[in-house]
Amino acid sequence: MRNAAIIGTAAIPVRKYQRKVEDPIQVVEHEMVAKLVVEAMTDAGVDKHEVNSIVVAHPRPYTKQKYFSTFMANYLRLPCSGIVMETMGNGMTAALAFDKAVDEILLGRSDVALALGVNMEMSVTAAEHMENSVRATGDVDFHSPAGFTPISWYAMDAMRYMHEYGVTREQLASVAVKNRYHASMNPLAQYRTLITLEEVMAQRPIVEPLGLYEVPPRGDGAACLVIASEERAKALGRPYVLIRGRGFFHEGAHQINEVPNDMIRFIAAETAANTAYKAAGITAADLDFAELYAPCTIVEVLVSEALGLAPRGGGARAAQEGETRLGGRIPVSTSGGLTSRGHPSYATPLYNFVEVADQLRGRAGQRQVANAELALTSNELGNYNAALVHILEARR
């Protein structure tokens, strides 16, 4: 049986890169991405002629260059007989790029494949951007006219969670404090200055009960991963990251289930994780850390519970008591997570894999998880209506 491994990574720090359209000097995606591809390939130590598949996260509409994947195949002069394509699936977009690049390896079409993505959106304001994003998270004729924004769904999860479990706002907010601490040690993170619980609580409300520091900041970013067959990875004679298990589940609902269900039990994450654990032959207790797609504090709490990292109703307390902090029982979002590392949405999942690869190759610096062997990533779309979970393992 073929296995796939991550052998190289590169990412730029999450920042506000994209200029306003009227600026005389612009920052463009392909220049940024080309440098990252070279950097990731140098990290991998393989030759460009070995790359036979390129899977690209479809960029935001603010990226002027269309058909970005085929454009990049030309820009980098990379003929491929595996595939050259783009993926799209809301927040899961870049996770699908990773997943399909892995498939190219598993199918035997390539020994080396690239998964890359770039997210540029800072040429428009949040209010302008939301005119577009309200169309993504609900029925455009029956939900969008009421004004639901993407994160308003997570806010409603938070309201329900506090109601059902008697969890306090402070407990939820402690997730943001913990993630900022992690980000303070991550050069790729957008926000690195330590914050206190009082500061999180004092921020202006964005979607109640969540304030500014509990929702994702906006930013630009890009990342590239080099995936190879395990055979090729082994031959390189240096540490690599083996993909041990994978699970996917879409619950057949988009934001809301018209048949009333338990909305804050993230059934897609739970099901996808169980599939991935089974494929890897492990349980949640075997994990050394987890890197989650969690745009808001509440999402990290709920997905931690769905993955079996904390008991139901206990996810916020786990953060408050330091269990999910670096050095704790099960560190979560050691990169700083989406609230502090930043959330260039269509590239975010690639940053999650970059963090996992850094940790499992022992090069996470100050934020290194001691003896990290097994990790989980979880990526999602909607209100965690679908989840894509991977289990990854250090091989040295």
Binding site: T125, A127, D141, P145, G147, F148, V207, P260
Partner: protein
């Protein structure tokens, strides 16, 4: 049961499209009636209305008027919204579980002396804008 109609002196910020199929829904709503589709085969209701039953995939569906009363499952107040909703900020949205077993996400209309809270009784109302209606909910 006829829904309370609340007149609004503006146009809808993000107007829905009407199709030949959904036209009966919007026409009835404008007159204070909440309708949706019910499957003639498995009898399940769906919302939003659909020309096929999502449960058993038959295209034999019928329009029925439904009871507009329910319970607030959850809610939020949005302080940062899309440009087209700027004039309405902050505004409340929520999820209501209708007593007959449908879950609906709508705009919420505040009522003096009633703070929104999961579990509270709600009733659907019509917000009648200058250009047409939207379904909303108010504390009962």
């Amino acid at each position: 049961m006829t829904l309370e109609i609340i007149k609004v002196d503006s146009a809808r910020a993000y107007p829905p499209r009407t199709t030949a199929f959904t036209e009966p829904y919007w026409l009835a709503l404008g007159e204070g009636h909440l309708q949706t589709t019910r499957c003639c085969s498995c009898a399940k209701l769906t919302y939003p209305p659909k020309p096929i039953c999502p449960h058993c995939w038959t295209d034999q569906v019928e329009w029925i008027e439904i009871d507009p009363q329910g319970v607030l499952y959850t809610w939020t107040r949005i302080h940062a919204g899309p440009a087209m909703f700027a004039a309405e900020l902050p505004y409340e949205v929520g999820i209501v579980d209708l007593n007959l077993g449908l879950r609906i996400a709508v705009r919420l209309v505040p009522r003096e002396g009633h703070d929104f809270k999961p579990g509270m009784a709600m009733c659907m109302v019509v917000l009648l804008y200058g250009d047409g209606p939207l379904l909303a909910a108010v504390p009962a």
